[in-house]
Symmetry: C2
Subunit: 335 residues, 2 copies
């Protein structure tokens, strides 16, 4: 436990040091967010706030787990988590970089985004499938059972990987929202790793390393929140949201707790679902009646609340409270 | 562990139900805060926001631990914690009630506040001293030792009790500040109780009950935060801050971890210290040079940051991050 606490503290410290170095540099390089033209009126004031701040927590998220890993089983789960974090993070980085350097709000084309994501997911899903401590079974929440998917594990896990990463990306729309919710998720997953490590001593090294990985993520994000809390000095950008998504889903994959994600990461899930419902219903009604109708004032869901007049700070507080409660309930499974 | 999680969830639910009932009622009864006239200019807009919202978490903090307590050792630590919470909370309630009903920003006179506080503290300190599982020794942080104060335990503990309660009161000056920081404190103390219960099975019932007590406090406060986050719909008032202070210090007292308070509740301590330094230095310089000088732009410290132009939300985020880090480091003692 001491190991994970010190990893968290160090990751926080690195983020605190990086912030005051990276933010002025991003500003100077004019890495300001070009706010989506069709977006919220109130967000126009955010034009010029630098983006790509995700590097502030991405750096400690990669370095600290390596420094604090135990030699025991070092080459098993941890490399998978790091590849997922770095791989998806890199896609986000390229997307951000294009947006910023070309001064437009759309970076990579949808195809250019999805193809590398699918490739990374395929690699990770096969890697997990072939790793003896993971295999093709998932823990079924709130039961003692596992659900063996056999070869279907690979496409299902690919869907989970791509889905989570893009849902994290969608949740990043209000100051401190994704950072706050994912902070709670990583803290929860650290505790899940504690329980799983205690339950299966043969896998203890792996679980210690994943615990440290989660701690570093939580610490780095906590440090980043210092700069990202409303009113934000910096946005995380796609590099940030993809890094968070990649890290979180990797932990769920290696701990076989992917079926827990809809619960602990419900905030991400509703962002995706609300977007899908909004677009789907609009297209359906447009086809049927000629005029497209909307279910939400705006999608993803957090913008629906925002357009309804709820202050950004209160949206974040609401999402974080619900996430904390769901995470607590999820933990009853393990303790 | 399941017990504490469900206690937290229930306390949260009660607070969520109470909020929409209590807040409109407080508004209707015109229990609005009369903002201190010498205070911050920016706080004048807060005139009319209802106060005494602390009842929203005070109710679950009292009810839930009773419901979820284990029969084993029920009549030992828990009654002490409840007396401290209710006793100090009541002083705050009376203070608030006078302020509100007389429409002035000062309620009880300093003497009327301090005398009942001292009486409650005396009762609690003697009670703890005479309880076999507590006694006159304190755990010395980061060592295996305890420090036996003998009869001095009583005045020292009285100072800790009165000091903590009033420090909590001073920290309550920015939307979500005391609620946010104390939420982390209670979560930490719940984990401390887990460790202490495991280390000393003879005291396990007591520690389970204190764990549940901390969980209920954290859950209730999390629910309250829904309404207290910037921009606040309701303030907790003295009834809230005294309840929180009384509950937190009671947990520290019965678990013999009072020496840990300066670390985990540093935010409260610096509020008191900055106030004492400000007033002391002002009086000293006034006597010496004729003109009083100030160390801080305004005391307590959070107002110093606020006058320096830091947004309220960022002050809360900073205080909560530092509290979380210190709490994590404190936990290395126990895990």
């Amino acid at each position: 436990m001491q190991r994970v606490i010190w990893a968290t503290v160090l990751a926080f410290a690195i983020a605190m040091v990086l912030g005051p170095v990276v933010i002025p540099w991003l500003k100077k390089m004019k890495f300001g967010q070009t706010i989506y033209e069709l977006g919220l009126e109130s967000h126009k004031v955010k034009q010029g706030t630098p983006t790509m701040g995700g590097v502030i927590f991405a750096v400690p998220m990669i370095i600290v787990p390596i420094l604090f890993s135990t030699a025991d089983q070092r080459w098993s789960f941890l490399p998978m988590a790091l590849v997922s974090t770095l791989g998806f993070g890199l896609v986000g980085f390229v997307d951000d970089y294009i947006k910023v350097s070309k001064k437009r709000s759309l970076g990579l084309t949808p195809m250019q985004k999805i193809v590398p994501q699918v490739v990374i997911s395929l690699v990770l899903a096969i890697w997990a499938y072939c790793t003896p401590q993971i295999g093709s079974a998932l823990i079924v929440p709130f039961t003692d059972k596992t659900w063996d998917l056999g070869l279907f594990y690979i496409p299902v896990m690919m869907f989970v990987l791509v889905g989570t990463v893009n849902s994290a990306n969608l949740l990043d729309g209000v100051d401190g929202l994704l950072s706050g919710c994912s902070l709670i998720d990583f803290a929860t997953m650290a505790l899940v790793c504690v329980a799983l490590g205690a339950a299966n001593p043969e896998n203890a090294g792996n679980m210690t390393n994943m615990m440290v990985f989660c701690g570093a993520a939580a610490g780095g994000i906590l440090g980043f929140l210092r700069f990202n809390t409303y009113p934000a000095n910096v946005f995380m950008g796609d590099v940030g949201s993809f890094t968070i998504g990649g890290a979180l889903v990797a932990v769920a994959m290696v701990t076989r707790t992917a079926l827990l994600l809809p619960m602990i990461a419900l905030a991400m899930l509703v962002s995706s679902l609300s977007d899908i419902i909004q677009v789907g219903y609009f297209k359906y009604t447009k086809k049927k009646t000629g005029a497209g109708k909307r279910v939400f004032r705006m999608a993803p869901l957090h913008h629906h609340f925002e357009k309804g007049g709820m202050p950004e700070t209160r949206i974040v507080s609401m999402y974080m409270s619900v996430t904390a409660l769901l995470c607590l309930i999820a933990l009853t499974m393990f303790f």
